[in-house]
Every structure is written in structure tokens, then in C-alpha cells.
């Protein structure tokens, strides 16, 4: 059965918004815990950007489908299986190096994602949004890449920790580039790019940074997936209890 365009736009926006919200939440967990004061400013700032992107995308999603009252309803009041984010972004932070490596992978991907949306997207409002988003994700990618090089090309210990982080995140990268029936449909309708089409550019950039960082490239195959279908890992349940606490305890509370 052919899906209606509004359903496609809604689901497509939800996937990207959920990725940003959940990584934003994870990143915000560093607030007050980062290794230096500067990083304690940087990470919550990035978290704000990511959550800001999520908020804007949820707002667009509410415009195309009116069954959710507002962006808060989408962010805070859905059940676990209704979130469509990647497994990559919901994993626990691990150490600082692990956190910046994941941010580097994700923001570099999003940078190319938004440039592609900017080039070609039938949904005018998302196309407008992408012009700004491409600048902000480039900044995140730039910030994270500097840390990957600093730590990878640092001491023997920091290099070892970064190499471990590469292995730890490796199983989750396949899902980032996985084309499925839905991404195909989005592409055919000229709405969103197919993830795999961004792989070559992404890999070239990761390779450049990893060479400077003395790190081996990850071997990417489709190992772990499920997030796009709402099948999440154990860590996600704990994350949601934290994220949704205020709205569940004090329903409809607002600032």
C-alpha cells in the first residue's frame, strides 16, 4: 500500500529528531562532569544545539500530523518503541574520548546529510532549516575531530583508550548507513537522501582525521540494528526514565 506523503514526512522527521534528542540528552549528561571547565561549557552547548535541532524538527512534524499536541508531547510522552533513533546515539557515554568519537561520527554524517537536503528536498521548510543546520553540524564535527586527533595522537594510554572506543562503537555504525524500504521511499519522493549515499564522503573525512590520530579505521558491517524500528538496547530504558521524569511526574508542566 502506498503511504501518504504526510506519513512519510512525519516518520522521516521523527527519525532525525529522535537521533538529535537522544544524543543531545546523552551529551547533556556531561554537564558538571567534563574533564576541564572549557569542555564543561562545550559539551552542554553542543547538547543545546542538538536538542534545539530536535525541537525544531518535532515542531515541523506536528505541523504535518496533528495527533500530537506539540513538540513536548513527541519528546517526552511517547513509549520506548515509538522512538526511532539509532542505537549508536543511545549507548552510554563511556569515557570522554568515547563521547567525542561518537559525536565526530554522528555530526560528520549529519553535516553531509544536511548538505544533501539543502541541495535537494521537496519539503521547503526542511530545506530552509538545513541551511542553518549544516553550519552548526560542521562546527560540532570540527570540534570533535580536534579531540579525536589530540587523544589519538596523545600518549600511549590515550591512544589505547581511543582505539578501544573505535572498537566499542564499531558495531553500531552499520545502522547509520543502512538503507531500508523507508529510506528508499524518502529518496524516491525527493524528501531525504539515502544514508548509504553519504558513506564515501563520510569515510574519506574519517580517514583523514584517523590518519592524523594514529587510529585504525573501523570495519563497518551491519551488526547491530533495530532503533529505526523502535527496538532499543537496555541502556535506552534508563535514559528515557531520566528524560521523561518531569513530564511523567508533573503532567503538562511548563516553564
Amino acid at each position: 500500500m502506498q503511504k501518504r506523503m504526510s506519513d512519510i514526512v512525519f516518520e522521516g522527521l521523527l527519525r532525525i529528531a529522535d537521533d538529535n534528542l537522544i544524543l543531545g540528552h546523552r551529551t547533556s549528561e556531561w554537564c558538571g562532569h567534563a574533564p576541564t571547565l572549557e569542555e564543561d561549557l562545550a559539551l552542554p552547548n553542543i547538547a543545546l544545539d542538538l536538542i534545539g535541532h530536535a525541537q525544531a524538527l518535532y515542531a515541523l512534524a506536528c505541523e504535518v500530523k496533528t495527533e500530537y499536541k506539540n513538540e513536548d508531547a513527541l519528546a517526552f510522552l511517547r513509549l520506548e518503541h515509538e522512538y526511532k533513533n539509532l542505537l549508536l546515539v543511545e549507548q552510554e557515554n563511556g569515557h570522554f574520548g568515547n563521547t567525542v568519537l561518537r559525536l565526530f561520527y554522528f555530526s560528520t554524517f549529519m553535516k553531509y546529510f544536511w548538505s544533501s537536503v539543502k541541495e535537494q528536498c521537496c519539503f521547503e521548510k526542511l530545506k530552509n532549516f538545513s541551511e542553518k543546520a549544516v553550519l552548526e553540524t560542521s562546527y560540532h564535527s570540527q570540534y570533535a575531530s580536534q579531540w579525536v586527533v589530540t587523544l589519538g595522537d596523545g600518549t600511549e594510554d590515550s591512544n589505547k583508550k581511543m582505539s578501544d572506543a573505535v572498537l566499542k562503537l564499531e558495531p553500531f555504525l552499520g545502522e547509520l548507513f543502512n538503507n531500508d524500504d523507508f529510506t528508499k521511499e524518502c529518496f524516491q519522493k525527493k524528501f531525504l537522501p539515502e544514508p548509504l549515499s553519504l558513506f564515501d564522503k563520510w569515510k574519506a573525512e574519517v580517514k583523514l582525521v584517523f590518519t592524523k590520530a594514529n587510529l585504525d579505521l573501523p570495519y563497518i558491517t551491519l551488526k547491530k540494528r533495530g532503533g529505526r524500528k523502535g527496538e532499543h538496547s537496555e541502556a535506552f530504558g534508563y535514559l528515557l526514565t531520566d528524560l521523561q521524569y518531569m513530564q511523567r511526574t508533573f503532567p503538562n508542566s511548563s516553564w
Binding site: 572549557e38 569542555e39 561549557l41 562545550a42 552547548n45 553542543i46 543545546l48 544545539d49 542538538l50 536538542i51 534545539g52 535541532h53 525541537q55 525544531a56 530545506k127 530552509n128 532549516f129 538545513s130 541551511e131 542553518k132 543546520a133 553550519l135 552548526e136 562546527y139 570540527q142 570540534y143 580536534q146 516553564w255
Partner: protein, 162 residues
Amino acid sequence: MTMRKNTEKAWDALRELTDPELPFLTLNDLGVIRDIKIRQDNYIVTIAPTYIGCPALSVIEDRITSELKKVGIEASIEKSFSPPWSSDWISESGRKKMEEFGISPPLLKDRRSSGDAVSKKVKCPQCLSSETEKVSEFGSTACKSLYRCLDCKEPFDHFKCV
């Protein structure tokens, strides 16, 4: 004619409205208010957020609508990301005020893209030395990064160039 008069009244009402995070700058100094128009008797104020996730955004929206209400205008706000807000839109007086307040203003586009390394240097707002270094990509707010002066040793905020 009346329409132009009415939007002028709205522009006037918003002229002195300041930014919540940079209270010494007006929203006009920052170039955040892009357009005011009347569509079917409704006032639409278009703003270009400096950052998508800027936490001051809802305060800015509230301030605009309540300021307009004072002069009898009901308005709604529309956000625009295209063209994306640029630090080049900050007015000359805005850049001056920034410097007086100890924040180094963003470099203009032609200087950013020039190959000349000296003109790309960020100047210390305290002693005006060009011997400075970046401490962190991110400062006290999303729109600033953190620098240090190598001459007077003072740390300072530099407004990011975007």
C-alpha cells in the same frame, strides 16, 4: 500607504528591544529581526535565530510580542533559517558596543576568507593586541568562543563568525 505606516510603527516599537543574553545589544544591532509584514490583518514578525537551539529564543519571542502589544499590535513570530543568520549582519554600532563590553566582535567575511594570516587574527578587546589564542570552541553562550590574550593574559569571549 497605511500598511507601510503600520509596519513602521511596529519597527519603532521594537527598536530598543535588547537581547536577553547580550543585554547591551538590541535585536536590531544583532540583525535578528528580519521582516515585519501584515498578512490578512495579522502582523508577522520574521526572526532569524543566531542558533537553532539558542535558549534565549523563547524569551526573545515573548519580548517581541509583548512589546508590540503595548502599542496595540497583535503579532505572531515566524522563524527563518534561510538565508541563515550571519554574524556579518551585526551592525557597526553593535560591533562597537561589543568591543566596549569586552567581547571581541566577529571577523567580517572578507577578512575571514582572506589568505592573509594577520587580518584573520582575533584582537584582544582589552589591550587590542593581536597575539591571542583560542582556548575553546565554545564560550559562555552558544554564540561565543573562548580566547586568551598572550600579551595582557586576560581571557575574553570572541563572538563566533558564522
